[in-house]
């Protein structure tokens, strides 16, 4: 019963997050004083050097309004939007790369983002927690404060600064990595895979460094608090070794809030990944969004943001569903 109630509650939150997120995405452009359709027509008009007739413009406006679901009153628009997005996963064609479907573009970029994001988040999380555990468990040693210092130094540095610094250090001053990465397309061979990994290392290093500091700090604080618990003292009196106490007694208990924190900070991690992609020209969702934002390609933007909300909410759900496996208290309650 305990687990069922937990899963049901968590799933309800998931649906609510999706619903509110999609509603915000729907409302945003309609609350803005700017009409994307006017923007397009202006762009096309200037490309045609103002040779379009008023009739042609009217026709184009009507077409665009149908295309972007701007026909009818706001409720009709809203429901057809939800239907298109949720049921058909259809965002219409891209404006810049007409007639490529937005969903095709997103599906092509998604593996890139997921690959980079999952790998670097896992590494940052595992490494950060291990270092934090050691720093917290041995907090009475002088050497441990050095580890914490690394966290303090890394944590407050914004992603974009980390990215630019990593670029400056590892691609310019010590030219180990390429300044402008190349990502081969087409069929995968081992050579290409190697090239992709090599070119992805810089953004990955940035993301790992960024996640690392936070994990060190919070794990250290948790481990310090857990080390003071009576059951750890009891384990020591029982004769359990330092290693056993650190891993089986302190780590397992300090891990739980870290899992919750990971689920909560997914949105921010995702933001960081987008930014990193933009700065390193890595061909994921972030780069697509950036290109679409400068080109005024709103269909692509809405597709990418909807997918972002969906991805982050789903990842959070998955982590929270794994949680009962780690925390026996939820299972038995």
């Amino acid at each position: 019963m305990g687990v069922l109630a937990y899963v049901a509650k968590r799933f309800g939150l998931y649906l609510a997050v999706l619903f509110i997120g999609l509603t915000i995405t729907f409302m945003l452009p309609r609350l803005m004083p700017i009409n994307p359709v006017d923007g397009y027509i202006g762009q096309i008009q200037s490309r045609a050097n103002g040779t379009l007739t008023p009739e042609a413009i009217e026709e184009m406006r009507a077409n665009l309004e149908v295309l972007y679901g701007l026909k009818g009153d706001i409720l009709t628009q809203y429901f057809s939007y939800l239907k298109r997005v949720v049921i058909d996963f259809d965002f219409g064609p891209s404006f810049t790369y007409y007639p490529t479907e937005v969903s095709t573009m997103i599906v092509t970029a998604l593996p890139w983002t997921l690959g980079l994001l999952l790998t670097s988040t896992m590494i940052a999380w595992l490494l950060g927690n291990m270092v934090g555990l050691v720093a917290g468990y041995f907090h009475k040693h002088k050497a441990a404060s050095v580890l914490e210092f690394v966290g303090i130094l890394l944590y407050p540095i914004p992603y974009y600064i980390l990215a630019v610094t990593v670029l400056l250090l590892l691609a310019y001053i010590f030219p180990i990595f390429p300044l402008s990465p190349t990502f081969p397309v087409g069929e995968m061979t081992w050579a290409k895979v190697g090239m992709i990994i090599y070119n992805s290392l810089l953004p990955a290093i940035t993301l790992v460094l960024a996640g690392f500091g936070w994990n060190i700090l919070s794990m250290k604080a948790l481990a310090v608090a857990t080390t003071e618990e009576p059951y750890v003292t009891y384990a020591r009196l029982k004769g359990a070794s330092n290693w056993t106490r650190m891993t089986r007694y302190v780590f397992r208990n300090a891990l739980l809030p870290q899992v919750t924190a990971l689920a909560l900070s997914l949105g921010m991690i995702f933001n960081g990944a987008l930014l990193t992609e933009i700065i390193f020209s890595y061909p994921g969702i972030g780069l697509i969004m950036r290109t679409a934002a400068t080109g005024g390609d709103y269909n692509v933007l809405y597709g990418a943001i909807t997918l972002s909300i969906l991805a982050v909410a789903t990842a959070g759900l998955v982590i929270d569903l794994i949680y009962p496996l780690l925390d026996p208290r939820i299972r038995t309650k």
């Binding site: 997050v17 509110i20 997120g21 915000i24 995405t25 945003l28 452009p29 803005m32 004083p33 700017i34 994307p36 303090i152 130094l153 944590y155 407050p156 540095i157 914004p158 992603y159 974009y160 600064i161 630019v164 610094t165 400056l168 300044l179 960024a210 996640g211 936070w214 700090l217 919070s218 604080a221 948790l222 310090v224 608090a225 003071e228 809030p257 924190a261 909560l264 900070s265 949105g267 921010m268 991690i269 995702f270 933001n271 960081g272 987008l274 930014l275 933009i278 700065i279 969004m289 950036r290 934002a293 400068t294 005024g296 809405y302 943001i305 972002s308 909300i309 982050v312 909410a313 959070g316």
Partner: protein
């Protein structure tokens, strides 16, 4: 919360309770540590804050105006950090950038703190269905990735926005983390003995709020405030770096945006890109040390008394 993306609040959230629970066993050593942290943080903030707010009065020219000087001058006595490819003095641009970023950060933090305190306290004290609905929104706003939304907004209003609109948008999408923290605080305070004690001794609600709750809450609010300043500066800078904020206004992000778009790295103009990096890291370290320093100081004070 944020773009930081990697923003500040989670640490405050996670770090605070264990530190508070730590008994003053190593009081001597710990006190020295926390004072040092806070002191270093405050000194950095004081120097950068005062410097960036006073120096602009002595600026020889508005640094955001392009082509004031010769382009790409090296570092010299006249131009301490040289000039950039747009003919702006890098040193003065940086000073104005720090000032604008700090101002934006403080304004946003005021807004966020007000919204978060009202939402968080009311949710925590009223409870029931109201709390559940409010917390659903809070959790949603925390879950939804902020950057994509900001990118869309940036694309929509670009060019037609003022610097303060950017701040307003950050407030609208940035209050949720703090509201969550405040609510957690309100929940725990509701159950505390000393609140009941005060109530039974005949203190009225205003007295309790002013004398018992506020001193307790103010510490957290102060820490949350500093973290929000960090978050806001970071968020605006992030938008600026990808060119979706008001990049004509000097901020810590826009200076990097211009440096990157003029390929300062390729042309070897190190000061243009290194100076803002150093300034940002120093400022953020100062803010972070101040916030965690306060956190520890308050925690140990509560522990001692």
């Amino acid at each position: 919360m944020s773009m930081d993306i990697n923003n500040a609040d989670p640490v405050a959230l996670v770090v605070a309770p264990p530190v508070a629970g730590k008994p003053g066993r190593r009081k001597g050593g710990l006190l020295w540590l926390l004072n040092a942290r806070l002191a270093v943080g405050l000194v950095i903030l004081l120097v950068m804050g005062l410097g960036s707010f006073i120096l602009p009065y002595f600026a020889p020219a508005d640094p955001s105006v392009q082509a004031t000087y010769m382009r790409n001058l090296p570092m010299s006595g006249v131009h301490w950090l040289g000039t950039n490819a747009l003919g702006q003095d890098i040193f003065w641009f940086l000073v104005f950038a720090i000032k604008n970023s700090l101002m934006l950060g403080i304004l946003v933090a005021v807004g966020v703190t007000i919204v978060a305190t009202i939402v968080g306290l009311s949710a925590g004290y009223i409870g029931g269905a109201f709390e559940r609905i409010v917390m659903l929104f809070v959790d949603t706003f925390i879950t939804i990735p902020l950057l994509p939304i900001l990118i869309i907004l940036g694309a929509l209003i670009r060019g037609n926005t003022s610097f303060f609109t950017v701040g307003l948008i950050i407030i609208i999408f940035g209050w949720a983390w703090d509201a969550r923290t405040v609510r957690a605080m309100a929940l725990s305070l509701r159950e505390r003995e000393f609140i009941n004690m005060a109530r039974f001794s005949g203190a009225n609600t205003v007295d309790i709020l002013a004398k018992d709750i506020f001193p307790y809450v103010s510490a957290y609010i102060l820490v949350g405030f500093i973290n929000t300043v960090l978050f806001a500066i970071n968020t605006e800078a992030t938008l600026a770096v990808i060119g979706l904020s008001k990049v004509e206004v000097p901020t810590l992000g826009s200076i990097i945006f211009w440096a990157l778009s003029y390929n300062a790295l390729f042309t070897g103009q190190y000061p243009w890109i290194v100076a803002p990096i150093v300034a940002t890291v120093t400022l953020f370290l100062g803010l972070f040390l101040t916030s965690t320093g306060f956190n520890q100081a308050f925690a140990s004070k509560r522990g001692v008394s």
